[in-house]
């Protein structure tokens, strides 16, 4: 391998990078896709769900071939207290028919398949390869344009344009001066365990038919007063369980993520779902939650940033936004090639596409929710406590008239804190959890 030249070098074979690689290779551009892991996905984890609609935009009918776990038909949100949970949820059997809604998946299986679609279209995938720096060429007297990347073995790969799809670390994005440093208060840290359990047991415990899956999100108890979440996904023959929250709070409260996970698994309502299941994997990753104000400069001469590296995460969504930003990057690069101009002048079209997207609107909106949690870090805790106390009262069979009981419950909830705050807690609790 010498010092090669490509039309495009893409750093990172996650959903953002592989999407762009696939689309650009289909457009007959020469593409190098660089991945530091042994395979794509070797370094990656998520909850997680793959959403059908955005993914099918990139690969129509992908569910027929992709290594997915189960078709999610049940989605629940649990407000958890010590011995109880108030549950909201939906089961839709239509979600088990084409074209489906979403799927549970494991990234170490999904990512290599996805990257391989780009390879089949003609992209060159280089694994076990770390990009360590950018190289530049001079354009004009004062300006310089990105001209490729330097690898950890010292080689340089040249390109008309470099797409950084390097995920949350965003090292090169920072080196390129496109993103400032980020704070612990803009990151959440999650740990995950995958627990093996025979498919039949999963199906009977979660009330599913073969192939059907369930996803539960939890707030309250799981995070031990850190603002964050717990989550559970059913896979084909394992269960994924995650828990985590804001890194600055993990620090200030002296909480260890592994201990959180152990404690979560011991909860009586979780314990029964995972009993006899044997841990087979332990993983961890951060999520960049800086939100709108932390979105970096998305482009410069000869360079674009997509996916997590660009802090494009909203609620529970991330892979789909990464894919869509990869798609917009690919469209912009194709235009730049047609114009034979890879400078910021043409690449700025990428920013416009991103800013007009539906996901940018929801990233913008979540600004309020982030501010709210800063001011009321106890909101989820208070909300779950109140809801569970009320539910215990409501469902307890007593001898008083139901109107009297309802009035008492109402007084209790409204007495706990100013009414407005209870309702706001609920609103942001659900909004931050994201779409159902």
């Amino acid at each position: 391998m010498g010092n090669d030249r490509y039309n495009v070098v893409i750093v990172g074979a996650g959903p953002a990078g592989s999407t762009a690689a696939l689309l650009l290779a289909q457009n007959n551009l020469s593409v190098a896709l660089i991945e530091r892991g042994k395979k794509p996905g070797s370094k990656n984890m998520f909850g997680g769900s793959i959403y059908r609609k955005p993914t099918a935009k990139i690969i129509p009918g992908f569910w027929k071939e992709a290594p997915l776990e189960r078709t999610i038909i049940t989605d629940e949100l649990w407000l958890m207290d010590r011995t109880s949970a108030v549950k909201a949820g939906f089961t839709g059997l239509k979600f088990n028919e084409e074209p489906y809604n979403k799927f549970s998946a494991i990234r170490s299986k999904f990512d290599p398949w996805f990257a391989n679609q780009a390879v089949k279209a003609g992209a060159k995938l280089m694994t076990e390869t770390l990009a360590v720096d950018l190289v530049y060429e001079k354009i004009g007297l004062l300006k310089k344009k990105v001209d490729g990347v330097k690898l950890d073995n010292g080689e340089v790969i040249y390109a008309d344009v470099v797409l950084l799809a390097e995920g949350a670390s965003a090292n090169l994005t920072q080196k390129a001066g496109l993103r400032g440093s980020i704070e612990a208060s803009s990151l959440t840290l999650y740990v995950k365990e995958e627990l093996a359990l025979p498919a039949k047991k999963i199906e009977s415990r979660f009330n599913l038919e073969p192939g059907e899956g369930s996803n539960i999100g939890m707030i309250g108890y799981p995070t031990a007063s850190v603002v964050g979440k717990g989550g559970l996904w059913t896979n084909q023959d394992s269960i994924s369980i995650i828990v985590g929250g804001y890194l600055n709070q993990i620090n200030s409260k002296g909480v260890s993520p592994y201990q959180l996970l152990t404690r979560f698994k011991e909860h009586p309502l979780i314990k029964r779902l995972i009993s006899d299941a044997k841990p087979i994997a332990y993983k961890s990753h951060i999520i960049p939650k800086g939100g709108y104000e932390s979105i970096p400069t998305l482009y410069d001469d000869g360079i674009l940033v997509a996916g997590d590296a660009a802090m494009m995460v909203s609620g529970r969504r991330g892979t789909d936004i990464a894919m869509l930003s990869g798609l917009y990057a690919a469209e912009t690069i194709a235009q730049a090639r047609a114009a034979q101009d890879y400078t910021a002048k043409v690449l700025k079209g990428y920013k416009k596409r991103i800013m007009d997207s539906f996901f940018m609107k929801s990233i913008k909106k979540s600004k309020n929710s982030k501010q709210y949690y800063k001011e009321h870090p106890d909101a989820d805790f208070l909300l779950t406590k109140a809801a569970n106390d009320a539910a215990y009262r409501f469902f307890t069979v007593g001898i008083e008239a139901s109107e009297t009981k309802m009035k008492k419950i109402k007084d209790e909830i409204f007495g706990m804190q100013p009414t407005k705050k209870t309702l706001t807690d609920l609103y942001y609790g659900i909004q931050d959890w994201g779409i159902f």
Binding site: N171, E193, P257, K283
Partner: protein, 102 residues
């Protein structure tokens, strides 16, 4: 909260890591840990407990071979005192080929 290492079952039984010969994690200034950092959060935020306070030498001990690259470093250290970079290509944690675990 209590010590990760004291837990009976260790998640390391099912984590696959190919460690590099050199550490990809360094403490920039050991004095800062000793003098300026009261709670030593690196000893608990790290999900695999790479950092531990060594009473004998009065400094942070870094077991870089346990790192699963969650990327919380360097952001977790309130004093920006951790120099963290990626392991070389192909080294470090590997979530693929999970079935190869012995």
């Amino acid at each position: 909260m209590s010590n990760f290492l004291k837990a009976e079952e260790s998640p390391f039984d099912y984590i696959k890591i190919k460690p590099d010969d050199e550490s990809h994690i360094d403490i920039k200034n050991r004095k800062t840990c000793l003098k300026a950092c009261e709670n030593k959060p690196c000893t608990y935020y790290c999900p695999t407990r790479v950092f531990a306070w060594d009473e004998e030498s009065n400094q942070i001990k870094v077991s870089y071979t346990r790192c699963i690259e969650c990327l919380a470093c360097p952001y977790g250290c309130p004093h920006n005192n951790i120099e963290w970079h990626f392991p070389k290509g192909g080294y470090g944690v590997n979530y693929s080929d999970q079935e190869d675990l012995s």
